[in-house]
């Protein structure tokens, strides 16, 4: 959450759209996620001038181009690390990362735990389609083993990871999940993430109609189970239970976990306060320490 960006504008969702044409395939789940993001920022009255969207490489990493805001289209796997720099340098800005499962959890996997444990005050929206779409259909860290893809003609040799469990384990303070076929649910969870102070992670399943013929929209409809209304979102153990699944192969939809904790930028600000930091600090005091 960023005070500077929220409740500043009255703009319709489509006014948040840039004039760059959307390049995704017809029927791709990403269209629904983009619309959910536009809806969320509209409902929150986000000022695009104070928002920075950051992405890496992949189909979903094109998202910033389609939106009104400050934005960075960075390198494969590095969006979260770049965005961390933006947020820590400019805590007054609202920072949003959009990216895919390969970008985030394969090549970018080294950065994921650290955004979470540092509680960087930003939102990471992961478009999880279980495939590398931009490179024409290779299996990803979230692909099911049944998926016969470009480089796995006989099926995958390794098991998929569990993004929710991963994020909960590393200390994300807002963890939610939905699928692209439920735009209203997606928009509400993204809204909650943007308003949350701390690192918020939203995993959104998205059907790839071109390269993933097993994770269809119908597959996700059958897969997802709404989280019961009486779930205690401050209970990490229960959130982890949900993330593990119900034992019958279903996946949770909704908000799993949300707690308030000090953010990294707040901790850094308290160091500045501790040492009495000031823009006018006399540097001669530092220099004098090196006099013999």
């Amino acid at each position: 959450m960023s005070v500077a960006a929220l409740h500043k504008k009255e703009m319709a969702p489509k006014e948040y759209k840039s004039d760059v044409s959307v390049v995704w395939c017809p029927g791709c789940g990403h269209h629904g996620i983009l619309n959910a993001i536009l809806r969320a920022v509209s409902e929150l009255g986000v000022d695009p001038t104070n928002m920075v969207s950051v992405s890496g490489i992949g189909c979903s990493s094109r998202t910033p181009y389609f939106m009104q805001s400050y934005k960075m289209h960075t390198l494969h796997g590095r969006a979260g690390a770049v965005a961390s720099g933006v947020q820590l340098a400019r805590p007054d800005q609202m920072v949003v990362v959009t990216g895919g499962d390969g970008d985030g959890f394969a090549i970018g996997g080294g950065h994921m735990p650290h955004m979470a444990r540092r509680n960087i005050n930003m939102t990471y929206i992961l478009f999880d389609n279980g495939i590398y779409g931009l490179t024409k259909g290779q299996y990803s860290p979230t692909s099911r083993r049944e998926l016969k893809a470009y480089t796995t003609p006989y099926g995958g040799p390794d098991d998929p990871m569990n993004p929710l469990l991963y994020m909960l384990t590393y200390g994300a303070t807002y963890v939610a999940q939905a699928f692209a076929g439920k735009p209203k649910v997606c928009a509400d969870l993204i809204k909650g993430a943007l308003e949350h102070k701390g690192f918020s992670y939203v995993n959104i399943y998205s059907q790839c109609v071109t390269y993933n013929n097993i994770d269809t929209i119908q597959y996700y409809r059958d897969l997802m189970r709404e989280i019961p209304a009486d779930h205690d979102t401050t209970d990490l153990g229960k959130a982890m239970d949900l993330a593990r699944g119900d034992g019958e192969g279903h996946r949770p939809m909704g908000l799993l976990y949300q707690v308030q904790q000090e953010t990294m930028d707040e901790r850094l600000a308290s160091i500045v306060k501790l040492v009495g930091g000031s823009k006018d600090y006399d540097q001669n005091k530092i220099i004098n320490q090196f006099r013999p």
Binding site: A4, V20, P48, T49, N50, M51, V52, V54, P64, Y65, Q68, S69, Y70, K71, M72, H73, T74, L75, R78, A81, V82, A83, S84, G85, V86, Q87, L88, A89, R90, D92, Q93, G110, H111, P113, H114, L268, I271, V272, L274, V275, G276, G277, S278, K279, Y281, Q283, N284, K285, I286, I287, F290, R291, P292
Partner: protein, 571 residues
């Protein structure tokens, strides 16, 4: 052998035995006495223990390097003696722990031996840990190291720990002094007498980079620990919060440069510091900084490579990586420092260039400078010119990558109304939107290359050491410059016609200045501490000069006599 008023003392022993603090005390005391100091140390990659040596060169004149070899060896243990005994040539002196130490050295013919029972005296005083104080007292008595200023620096250091500890150390020092005075001095080695103290600081290369960064207006630093660069992060971590800035220790070097790009995009002056392995990891993001025109500074404190290489040892072997290390055509500005003073001043220059040209800048330091402490004129914060990036004036429609006369496009920071734009690694048009138009890619490459091309001649002219015609012209870079300065001076004193050419801007290369220099020299010699002769390679590639490459890569810097001998060989 050293000149008059120019003494080199090498303290050697086991890591953790006080070698480093002894050296630091002697250096600080000498600087306090108005003398010039250049220190050099080597230590093992092991976590604790191992052989460690600290060499202090003290002179009443300016010193440019660590010197040829020591005049006085202070051996705190048998290993230190064993490793250095081949350097005990007639005329040198050795102060050693005897009796009571772990060795009984044979003092070679012509060497001045001074046995001081350091361990025994320390034990008698009640703590083995005061051994180095005993050694220092003896050195002070034997070689005229200013007792008054030594006691001042000891007091400054130990006062914080209480009077008891201070007095104990002073007592050990006095004991050593007494032992030293009891010996019959047979040599004439002595530190120059005190002169009027100058307005100096004594600082290491790594701390100096940190200081330069703050003087240059740094606001954000992201680092990942790596030898021999980590002290830069420590300095910045300690001091940047005082100026409201931020230091983050990232999860790896890729993340540290990624954060720097993010912070710089967000409008803050940002940098990272690393060594060769880290720079290798950063090379993809350097391309992004070039393509996205994001002001970026990376300091590379070079170490012995390749791969993990010799992590604590000296080498100048990252020039290829610094100039060309990334895919695609993406050069950057590369600077290199000669000494600790440059570490301060050129870090300011490097930050300014990143801001002015909106591109990555790499500043090369090296392992021998990283830990070398030197006397440097105390910096005056108000004397530095600070450059800020060209920012958009908010007028009209904003194009981030607009073509301008100087090929530098105004930047809008997040939060600037109307300045919303994308910074991207994809080829793009003036507005940042992806573009595959052939003419656009060519025009954009010309823009990104063109904006830094003029720097080759607009940066301060390359220093030329000497005038007129020379039989041998020496072109060198980095900390080797300091070695060459002394070699050139000594060769000239012998009547040999030599000149030096000392570039600090490594890329873009001031080709015309190289050519003009070479035109005044019969032969060009290029000494550098790497296997391939990396600067020689660029000279051959970019100029008509055909230099004689002189390379070493044994983990240690050159010393002046090596250069002198080589010049005589090629004459």
């Amino acid at each position: 052998m050293s000149k008059e008023n120019d003494l080199i003392i090498r303290v050697a022993g086991e890591g953790g035995e006080g070698v480093v603090s002894t050296g630091d005390f002697i250096a600080a005391a000498s600087a306090r006495a108005g003398l010039e100091v250049y220190t050099f140390k080597t230590f093992p990659a092991e976590i604790k223990g191992g052989y460690c040596m600290y060499q202090i060169r003290v002179s009443s004149n300016r010193v440019y390097n660590q010197g040829d070899t020591f005049d006085v060896l202070c051996a705190l243990n048998g290993e230190a003696y064993e490793l250095n005994k081949h350097l005990l040539t007639p005329g040198t002196a050795i102060v050693y722990d005897y009796p009571g130490g772990d060795f009984d050295p044979v003092i070679p013919e012509g060497v001045h031996g001074y046995p001081v029972p350091m361990s025994q005296a320390a034990k008698d005083l009640g703590s083995y840990r005061s051994k180095n104080m005993v050694a220092m007292g003896a050195l002070s008595a034997l070689f005229n190291i200013n007792e008054e200023t030594l006691k001042q620096v000891l007091t400054k250091k130990f006062k914080k720990k209480g009077d008891e500890i201070l007095n104990f150390n002073l007592k050990a020092f006095d004991k050593g002094k007494e032992l030293g005075l009891a010996l019959k001095k047979s040599d004439s080695w002595r530190v120059a007498d005190a002169v009027t103290p100058k307005d100096v600081i004594v600082i290491s290369g790594n701390d100096a980079v940190g200081m330069g960064a703050l003087l240059g207006g740094l606001e954000f630093f992201s680092a990942y620990p790596i030898t021999p660069a980590t002290e830069i992060a420590k300095f910045v971590a300690t001091h940047i919060p005082k100026l409201t800035g931020t230091l983050v220790q990232a999860e790896d070097e890729i993340a540290s440069l990624a954060q720097v790009l993010g912070a710089s995009y967000a409008g803050r002056k940002a940098m990272t510091a690393t060594s060769g392995p880290g720079l290798s990891l950063m090379s993809e993001l350097l391309g992004m900084a070039f393509m996205g025109e994001i002001p970026t500074l990376v300091v590379d404190v070079q170490r012995g490579g390749p791969s993990t290489g010799l992590p604590t040892k000296h080498e100048q072997s990252d020039l290829f990586l610094a100039i060309h290390g990334t895919h695609g055509d993406a050069p950057r500005i590369v600077l290199s420092v000669e000494d600790v003073k440059d570490c301060i001043d050129m870090t300011v220059d490097a930050l300014n260039m990143a801001e002015q040209f909106q591109c990555p800048v790499i500043l090369l330091s090296d392992g021998s400078l990283a830990f070398s402490t030197q006397t440097v004129p105390a910096p005056k914060p108000e004397s530095y010119t600070i450059v800020n990036r060209k920012r958009w004036d908010g007028q009209g429609k904003y194009f981030r990558y607009a073509m301008t006369d100087d090929m530098i496009s105004p930047i809008a920071d997040p939060g600037t109304p109307g300045g919303e734009h994308i910074a991207t690694g994809l080829e793009h048009g003036a507005n940042g939107a992806p573009s595959w138009v052939p003419a656009n890619h060519e025009a954009m490459q010309r823009k990104r290359f063109g904006k830094i091309q003029g720097l080759a001649e607009s940066y301060k002219p390359v220093e030329i050491d000497g005038e007129g015609e020379a039989d041998v012209g020496i072109i060198t870079w980095g900390s080797t410059i300091g070695v060459v300065r002394e070699a050139v001076e000594r060769l000239r004193a012998e009547g040999i016609k030599v000149k030096g050419f000392y570039p600090k801007l490594m890329w873009p290369m001031p080709v015309a200045q190289y050519e003009a220099f070479a035109a005044t020299c019969k032969k060009i010699l290029v000494p550098e501490v790497n296997f391939q002769g990396q600067l020689s390679h660029f000279i051959r590639a970019e100029t008509s000069i055909r230099p004689i490459s002189y390379t070493i890569c044994g983990g240690l810097p050159f010393n002046p006599v090596m250069i002198i001998n080589k010049v005589k060989e090629v004459l």
